[in-house]
Every structure is written in structure tokens, then in C-alpha cells.
């Protein structure tokens, strides 16, 4: 065991401070120190994406980042996306198009999808499939996930157009 570090993070808009061993993975700091259990551990090798969070504007797999590396960062997890009475358009569309089954990949999947649509607001099906290839789902076969994301994209774009 090594000495603990003083870690400061901004998670879902709230400032958090705690002590952690530098070797502690970010996913465990989130889940066990901050009780943010939406991001899940599926592989600990960056393959499955169940632990995906947004760090300083980028999609990151929090199972292969030390909490020390995240020190000072601004992090968004699934808990910071949508509200129970005002779901994010992606959350709505995943439900509408049956884009989830067991739900284990879903927090990472939706978190990644929010970034994907920021990076590319009007993606083709192929671009969605490529952009989501870092997130594994064992239940849905992806067809309805892709449908959910494409549908969310059109809704977001339609809303933007209406606002202009």
C-alpha cells in the first residue's frame, strides 16, 4: 500500500474531495467512495465500455484510468444525465426503441452516446455503429441501440431547428 492522495473531482456538477491510493482505479473511486454505481465494471481491460464516463468533454473508460490521473477533472456519469421527471432524449429513446435488456451496459452506452451526438450531431447508421464500437452489449444485438441513437439524433436536431 502506498500513501493516500488528496483527490478533488467535480462529478455531475458537485465538488468531491477524498483520499485515495494513487493506484486506485477511477471506476472504484466513483463506485465505492462516491456511491456513483451507474457506471459498471465489466472487464477492467477497456474492452466492454460498461464503465464509460465523460471526463473533461471526452468519453473515457474509467476502469483503466487511475483516480490520480483524474485529479482535478470534471466528470459526468449517467447519474448526471437527465432527471427522473425529465429524462434525456437518449434515455427516452432507449426505452422507446427497446435499446436495452439487462441494463448493465446501458449507463456506459448512453453516456457514450451523449458524446457521440455532440461530436457528430447528424450521424449515419454506419457512423453510429463505429462510434459505439467501444461499448459491448451482450443482450440486444445492437440493432435497437442504433435505432435509439439515430432517433434521438433526429429529435435533437428537430428541436434545434424549431428553436431557430
Amino acid at each position: 500500500m502506498s500513501d493516500k492522495m488528496h483527490i478533488k473531482l467535480k462529478v455531475n456538477g458537485e465538488d468531491k474531495e477524498f483520499l485515495a491510493e494513487p493506484r486506485e482505479l477511477l471506476i472504484y473511486a466513483l463506485r465505492e467512495k462516491l456511491n456513483i454505481t451507474g457506471p459498471h465494471v465489466g472487464c477492467e481491460t477497456s474492452h466492454c465500455g460498461a464503465c464509460t464516463v465523460t471526463i473533461d468533454g471526452k468519453s473515457v473508460k474509467s476502469c483503466t484510468m487511475f483516480v490520480a490521473q483524474a485529479n482535478g477533472a470534471e466528470i459526468t456519469t449517467i447519474e448526471g444525465i437527465g432527471e427522473p421527471d425529465a429524462l434525456h432524449v437518449l434515455q427516452e429513446n432507449f426505452r422507446e426503441h427497446h435499446g436495452l435488456q439487462c441494463g448493465f451496459c446501458t449507463p456506459g452506452m448512453i453516456t457514450r452516446a451523449t458524446k457521440l451526438l455532440e461530436e457528430n450531431p447528424n450521424p449515419t447508421e454506419e457512423e453510429v455503429r463505429f462510434g459505439m464500437a467501444g461499448n459491448i452489449c451482450r443482450c440486444t444485438g445492437y440493432q435497437n441501440i442504433v435505432k435509439s441513437i439515430l432517433s434521438a439524433a433526429s429529435e435533437i436536431n428537430a428541436a434545434k431547428e424549431a428553436a431557430q
Binding site: 493506484r23 465505492e32 427497446h98 436495452l100 448493465f104 452489449c137 451482450r138 445492437y142
Partner: protein, 805 residues
């Protein structure tokens, strides 16, 4: 009635009952990250367990030195077999009638086997301590091939030495487990010997793993004050786990509460009982604190379960014009170091005897030899009913091989051998009574939709173009027609550890007309909370939105055998309908009393009872529910509750017709799926949206298994595919869009005619993908090549056929 009274159509739609694509009630919490999985459970003073595992596949454990580990601050205990022996928990019974070491007792039999269990204050300290446990091993010869095992002098299971009788009859050799025979051997051989045409093939259905995204885990909490043990875990069968935990620990069953919280996918992986569960219980009893154990992905792929690993040899005979006359199948089944296969007790090779498939085959014989090797134990049904995937793959490959032998179109060969609609109920040569089917209609619909003849024409043109050097891509048309056997099962012949495989539902209607129903099953993503409420809504006339479904807590749910083998809808779904009908029967009496008519003078109408011939006189289910609680009704007990334990009279037999069109680049070995059409007949359809989702998911798991996913070992028994880098899980990038379709042939014995669908796409999908790859090379003389058809192996196939010359 007045103008505000909704019409029948509207009342029916308001119920959200059977047949509608109701949106899932589970999704609100899952999309917001508010699921509650085992690893999300956090209890005060909770400790973490982690395993010391064997790096060797076969070795004697000479000594285990815990000193350095115990000296590490935060380490509470290090358990070995020696510590468990006084409690008689160093071994545990398996579901297959064998026993398995919980912690290595003198030797290890597979790489990754559990040797010691470290308990510490957090997962990092536990992992550090694992590294500090010093284990001295003495290597022993490793056997990873079952054929070699049956010849070898090396005794793998020394604990069984001298035992010539196993749980399933005589053992022929010290590494042999059982021989399971079905059908008529002499009769089959006679037909084969005298047949006009016989096709023979040997095929290996490789070892793989269900690999749900959430690994296995448990949290045990022994409350020494009250004497109560609570166990949360990734259990597909929580009630059976409670019974097993009681039998193993000696704690009375009423003092054990088992809870399956949200489960992050199962696919068979979470049916078995694993050493981690046992060790977390023991550690909690020893320390008096809650203990969590969650395996990592490598541990999951190396130690908790595997699927398949069947070496199959087949002979199929036919007349010259293609009428099948007999089928012979022998399987050498690699069960690993312990026989921990998860099958009903009387079926050591599961329902492999459904291997006559969808065809009217007069005589057949099946023999399965189970064998010990130095591989992980735990043959589970990965997204299929017990060994049905193997059976369907076998027959669907044999049909293709026979078509080659006969120089006949494989679709036509299937058509002329299908069991005919009028033959149902049909008793197959290996004993099963198929309840219903209409195979010809499904097949014709499938072939017509994909324009089969045009595909074959295009394929023939492609072959010519390839020969002329105009293209390097070949085209494969993969066919499969499958019949599943699901819904285990009748208590008379199906049990798990002696528990009959019934299932259950208990319903309580609340005074204001909403309800809660609890079942003996447990959803792992199938959407039970959504669909079982739909069944009930149609049965009792209360909107699905007003019905809560609960599963997985053994303190509250009625006893049931759990969710696997597509049994939830066939068995618990039937219990739900039957319990609903009990509610309705009582509601009828209450309605008649309230309407002041005889019981027989009212009838059920969507959400109410109406006086026959006078529909303006009615009582809604809501009114009836209130009356059940608020007034004394002569001769009727207050309240409105019912329970049903349903013992199915037969299995159900879903079927389907699949077609895959594939282009294969012979120079890279990369297959490109151009089209996949899946027609499923699962009987009555409860929620089309969920059915479609199940089909997409099952097909994707089929794609994975057929095209690359495997648990491979080297000669020393090292697992070569122990991470997601090597173990193929398809991403969105590799998966096509699927076309789904259906016919409806209701099960005649199921209360609502439903048959189950979760596993059909996997069962039918694997041979379809595999047949597509192999069909692409048929014109160049390929007869059979084993899965998985990854790029390298496809390239090798092309190379072997001289296509790179």
C-alpha cells in the same frame, strides 16, 4: 352506460395486455443508472473476498503458506480446504451428481481452480494478499483432450479411484464419467447397413462461454444475533440456491434469505453454484461480517462455467430421393475436471436427444460419453435449453452433408423430411412428444420472403464469375430449421437436485384494484416485470400498469426453479395465467353477488363482469376488488389472492426458419453478412417488441459463437482466450441488421399457448451462420469444417481447397 363509457376496443387497449408492444417498466431505472446489481450492494463493515487460483491445469498442492498474507494490514482471514474440511464444505455436490472442490483439496484439476480464499477490508488489500499466499505445486501430466483422457493411465479424479459406478451408471475408465444411451441401437444400425445412401460426418462443437457483461458474484451476511443468513447473488435460480445453501451449511432453510437483485445478463452462466458463493458464506459465518465476492472477467472466463465442448459423430441414411430413414449420433463430451453440468438430474447430456430435429426420422440412436479432462467444469446451457444448441447444430449440419451426398438442394431436402402438421403431437424416435408445429408453412414463408431460388441463381453465377477470375468473393446461403425443446419441465421426469421443475406465481389484488404478483423465476434482461404483468392484465382485467411484478427474493416470492432453458414463459407464465384464473373465478362470485344474479349469469368481459344479455349491468374488476375487502359476502372469504404452482404436462417446442446470405472474401477470410432473415414461431406472442429484442440478441450471440468465440486451451491446459482481447464479443460494428418474422402455432397444452423464445435465435442462429460459411465453399468440394469460422480459419479453408492457387 353513458357516452363517457369507453368502448370495448379502448378498454382492451387500456389493459396493455397480451399481444401489445408495451414499453418496459424496467427501463426507467436502468437508463438512469439506478439498477441494483450485486456489486452495487454495500453493507456496513463489509469485507471483500478474492481467490488464490492455480496457474497449473493439473498439479498436486504440496503446501499453502498463509503467513505473509495474514500479516498484511487489513487481511482478516485466508481460507483453505483444510479450514473448510471441519465444516464439510471443502467439497460441494454438483448439479450433475458429481462433487467439486470448493478449495483445492490436495490437487488442482484446471487452470484457475480456486486454491485459497482471502478475506480483507477492501478489494485492493484482498488482491495484494492473494499475491502473498505462497502455494507450492508439483506439476502433473495435463490432459486437455477427452479421447486421450480415455486412453491415459493418468488418473485425474483420484477421489473417485476404484468407483466403477457413477451418478449415471457404469464408468468404463478412470477418466470416464458416464455413457448415456437413447433410442434403438440395433434397429438404427440395421437401417444404416441396408440404406441406399449414408452420409457420415465428425464435427466438433467447440468450447465457449456465456460471458454476460456482469460477472458472477455474491454478498453473504450472517447475522449471528438472529441466526439469519442473507445471500445476495447472481443467481438464475435463487430458490434452489437457498435449498442448497441450507443443505450445505446446516442452517435451517427459513433462516436463509436468498436475493437475486438485478442481474446483468445470465445466458446460463448464473445457473451453477460456484466456490465463490460458498466461500463468501463461510467467510461471513467465520468473521461475523458481510463478505462480498465478485469475480473479474478473467476469472469468469477461466472458472465459472463453460458451454458446449461436444465431439459429435453422425451417420444419417436416406433413400436415393432423399427420404431420411435413420440417424446415429455419438458424442464424446468434455466435462472438464468435475462434472458440474447444469442439466435436469436424469439428463446427463441434457436434451441432446432432440437431435432428430424437425424431421420425421423413423429410427435413431444416440450415445453420449462424458469424460474428465484438465479443463474448467460447469457445462451450462449458453442461451439454450439443455444441450439443444448442440443437438440442432448436429442435425442441421448432417442435413447439409446429406444434401451434398445426394447432390440435392438442402432446402428441398428439409422440406421433404419435415414432420407434417397433421402428425402433431408427434413422438420422435428418441422419445420426445412434440406438442405442435407447422414447419412447412414457416419454411415456405421464409424461402419466399428471401427469394430463395433467386439467391441460388445468383450464387451459381458468382461461382462462375469467381472461376473466370472476375471476383474474389464467394456467396453462401445459410439455412437452418430448428425445433427447440424448452420449458423444463414436467416434475415426473425433470428435477434439479431433487426439486421438481415446476414454477409458481402468487397474486394479491389490493383493495383499490391494483395488484402485486410474485414469481419463482428471475429476469436477467428478459423484461419479466413487463410481460408477466401483460399476461395477468389479460387474465384478470386490471391494467398492466397497475400490476407490480416481483421476483428473486426467497423470503417473499413463492418457490420456483428459476430462469434458464427458456422456461419462464412456458412454466412461470403458465402459473401466472392459472393464478389469474383463480382470481377471476372468485371475482365472478363476488360480481354475481353484487349484481344480485347467479354466478353463472355473469361473464368476464375485458376488465369487468357483465350480466349475460344485459351488458349495461356490470361490475368492473376495480369495484370487485374493493368489495372483496370492504363488505361481508356470504360464503366467500374476504380478500382477493391466489397462488398457483404449475407442473407443465409437457415441454413446449418453439421452432423457426432462418436464412443467412453471406459474402466471403477468400483472400482475407472475412465474411460479410448481407442479409439475415429469422422467422420464429413461439406460439402465442405476449410482447412483440420484446420478442424481437430477444431474437436480435440471440442471433448476435449465435454470430459470435459461429464466427469466432471460443475458450481455447494449449497443451499445458493454459486458457488462451481469457480476456476480452481474445474472447470474441461482437461490437455494433460487426453485427448486421436482422429481419424478423413469425408464424403463430400455439402450444396446445399451455394455458395461453405460449412457448418461449429467448433462446430460439441462438439455437437456430449458430447452424445458420455456420451453414452460410460452409455453403459458400460447397461448389469447391467442402463437406464440413469446424467452427468457429474466424477469418484465419476461413482463409485456411479457402487455402485448403486450392482457392489461393
Amino acid at each position: 352506460m353513458n357516452d363517457m363509457t369507453p368502448d370495448r376496443e379502448e378498454r382492451s387497449a387500456n389493459l396493455k395486455g397480451m399481444g401489445c408492444s408495451r414499453k418496459r417498466v424496467e427501463d426507467a431505472r436502468f437508463t438512469q443508472g439506478k439498477g441494483n446489481y450485486v456489486d452495487d450492494i454495500k453493507l456496513p463493515d463489509m469485507l471483500h473476498g478474492d481467490f488464490v487460483r492455480s496457474p497449473y491445469a493439473h498439479a498436486r498442492v504440496v503446501s499453502v503458506n498463509k503467513e505473509a498474507a495474514l500479516a498484511l494490514p487489513g487481511v482478516v482471514a485466508v481460507l483453505t480446504a483444510e479450514d473448510l474440511a471441519p465444516l464439510n464444505l471443502h467439497w460441494m455436490p454438483t448439479l450433475a451428481g458429481d462433487k467439486q472442490m470448493v478449495l483445492a483439496d490436495g490437487k488442482v484439476l484446471f487452470q484457475g481452480q480456486e486454491v485459497a480464499f482471502v478475506v480483507a477490508s477492501d478489494r485492493y488489500v484482498a488482491a495484494d494478499a492473494v499475491e502473498l499466499v505462497e502455494v507450492e505445486y508439483e506439476e502433473l501430466p495435463v490432459i486437455t483432450d477427452p479421447f486421450e483422457a480415455l486412453k491415459s493411465d493418468v488418473v485425474l479424479r483420484e477421489d473417485l479411484e476404484g468407483q466403477t459406478e457413477g451418478a449415471h451408471g457404469p464408468r468404463k475408465h478412470h477418466n470416464h464419467i458416464f455413457t448415456w444411451e437413447q433410442g434403438d441401437e440395433a434397429g438404427t444400425n440395421q437401417v444404416l447397413d441396408n440404406a441406399e445412401v449414408v452420409a457420415e460426418e465428425t464435427m466438433y462443437y467447440h468450447r465457449t462461454h456465456p460471458c454476460p457483461l456482469e460477472t458472477c458474484g455474491s454478498v453473504a451476511s450472517m447475522d449471528k444475533v438472529n441466526g439469519k443468513l442473507t445471500l445476495w447473488g447472481t443467481f438464475q435460480a435463487p430458490h434452489v440456491v437457498r435449498t442448497v445453501a441450507s443443505l450445505l451449511s446446516g442452517i435451517e432453510e427459513h433462516n436463509i434469505r436468498v436475493v437475486s437483485p438485478d442481474i446483468g445478463g445470465g445466458f446460463g452462466n448464473k445457473v451453477g453454484v460456484y466456490p465463490g458463493y460458498v466461500c463468501s458464506i463461510v467467510a461471513s459465518i467465520v468473521t461475523g461480517k458481510p463478505v462480498k465476492w465478485v469475480e473479474d472477467r478473467m476469472e469468469n472466463l477461466m472458472s465459472t462455467a463453460f458451454a458446449r465442448d461436444y465431439h459429435m459423430t453422425g451417420k444419417i441414411s436416406a433413400t436415393k430421393d432423399g427420404k431420411i430413414t435413420g440417424l446415429h449420433c455419438h458424442v464424446t463430451a468434455d466435462h472438464g475436471g468435475f462434472d458440474a453440468c447444469a442439466d435436469p438430474t436424469k439428463f446427463p447430456a441434457g436434451f441432446m436427444n432432440i437431435c432428430t430435429g424437425s424431421y420425421d426420422i423413423p429410427v435413431a440412436y444416440l450415445a453420449v460419453d462424458g469424460v474428465y479432462t484438465n479443463k474448467a467444469p460447469g457445462g451450462v446451457s449458453y442461451r439454450c435449453s439443455f444441450r439443444v444448441t448442440e443437438a440442432v447444430y448436429f442435425i442441421e449440419r448432417m442435413i447439409e452433408v446429406l444434401a451434398i451426398e445426394l447432390d440435392m438442394d438442402a432446402a428441398e431436402l428439409r422440406r421433404i423430411n419435415f414432420i407434417k402438421k397433421e402428425q402433431f403431437p408427434y413422438t420422435a424416435a428418441l422419445g420426445w412428444e412434440y406438442d405442435s408445429g407447422d414447419y412447412h408453412t414457416a419454411w415456405d414463408k421464409a424461402l419466399e420472403t428471401v427469394e430463395y431460388d433467386a439467391l441460388r441463381k445468383e450464387q451459381a453465377e458468382r461461382v462462375e464469375a469467381f472461376k473466370r477470375g472476375e471476383t474474389r468473393k464467394l456467396m453462401g446461403v445459410g439455412l437452418s430449421f430448428f425445433t427447440e425443446i424448452v420449458g423444463a419441465g414436467p416434475v415426473k421426469n425433470c428435477d434439479i437436485l431433487g426439486m421438481g421443475m415446476f414454477d409458481s406465481c402468487e397474486i394479491r389484488i389490493h383493495p383499490t384494484g391494483s395488484a402485486i404478483a410474485r414469481l419463482g423465476t428471475i429476469s436477467q434482461g428478459q423484461g419479466h416485470a413487463t410481460t408477466f404483468a401483460q399476461i395477468l392484465a389479460s387474465e384478470i382485467g386490471i391494467s398492466a400498469d397497475s400490476i407490480t411484478i416481483e421476483e428473486g427474493d426467497t423470503d417473499t416470492a413463492p418457490y420456483g426453479l428459476g430462469t434458464y432453458g427458456s422456461r419462464s414463459t412456458p412454466v412461470a407464465g403458465a402459473a401466472t395465467a392459472m393464478a389469474g384464473r383463480k382470481i377471476r373465478a372468485k371475482a365472478q362470485m363476488i360480481a354475481a353477488y353484487l349484481l344480485e344474479v347467479h354466478d353463472d349469469d355473469v361473464e368476464f368481459d375485458i376488465d369487468r363482469f357483465v350480466v349475460k344479455g344485459a351488458p349495461e349491468r356490470f361490475k368492473t374488476m376495480k369495484e370487485i376488488a374493493y368489495a372483496a375487502y370492504n363488505q361481508a359476502i356470504p360464503g366467500i372469504e374476504p380478500g382477493l389472492e391466489a397462488v398457483s404452482y404449475y407442473d407443465p404436462p409437457n415441454m413446449t417446442y418453439p421452432f423457426g426458419a432462418y436464412v443467412c446470405v453471406m459474402d466471403i472474401d477468400v483472400d482475407t477470410g472475412v465474411p460479410e453478412i448481407r442479409r439475415f432473415y429469422a422467422l420464429d414461431d413461439c406460439g402465442t406472442r405476449i410482447n412483440p417488441m420484446i420478442i424481437e429484442g430477444q431474437v436480435h440478441g440471440g442471433l448476435t450471440e449465435a454470430l459470435a459463437v459461429a464466427l469466432g468465440q471460443e475458450i481455447a486451451y494449449d497443451d499445458l491446459g493454459n486458457v488462451k482466450t481469457g480476456t476480452l482481447m481474445d474472447f470474441f464479443l461482437p461490437t455494433a460494428w460487426e453485427v448486421p441488421n436482422y429481419e424478423t418474422d413469425y408464424t403463430v402455432t400455439p402450444s396446445p397444452h399451455h394455458p395461453i399457448g405460449a412457448k418461449g423464445v429467448g433462446e430460439s435465435p441462438h439455437v437456430g442462429g449458430v447452424p445458420c451462420f455456420s451453414n452460410a460459411v460452409q455453403d459458400a465453399f460447397r461448389a469447391f468440394g467442402l463437406r464440413h469444417t469446424n467452427m468457429p469460422h474466424d477469418h484465419w480459419r476461413i482463409w485456411q479453408t479457402a487455402n485448403g481447397l486450392g482457392l489461393h492457387d
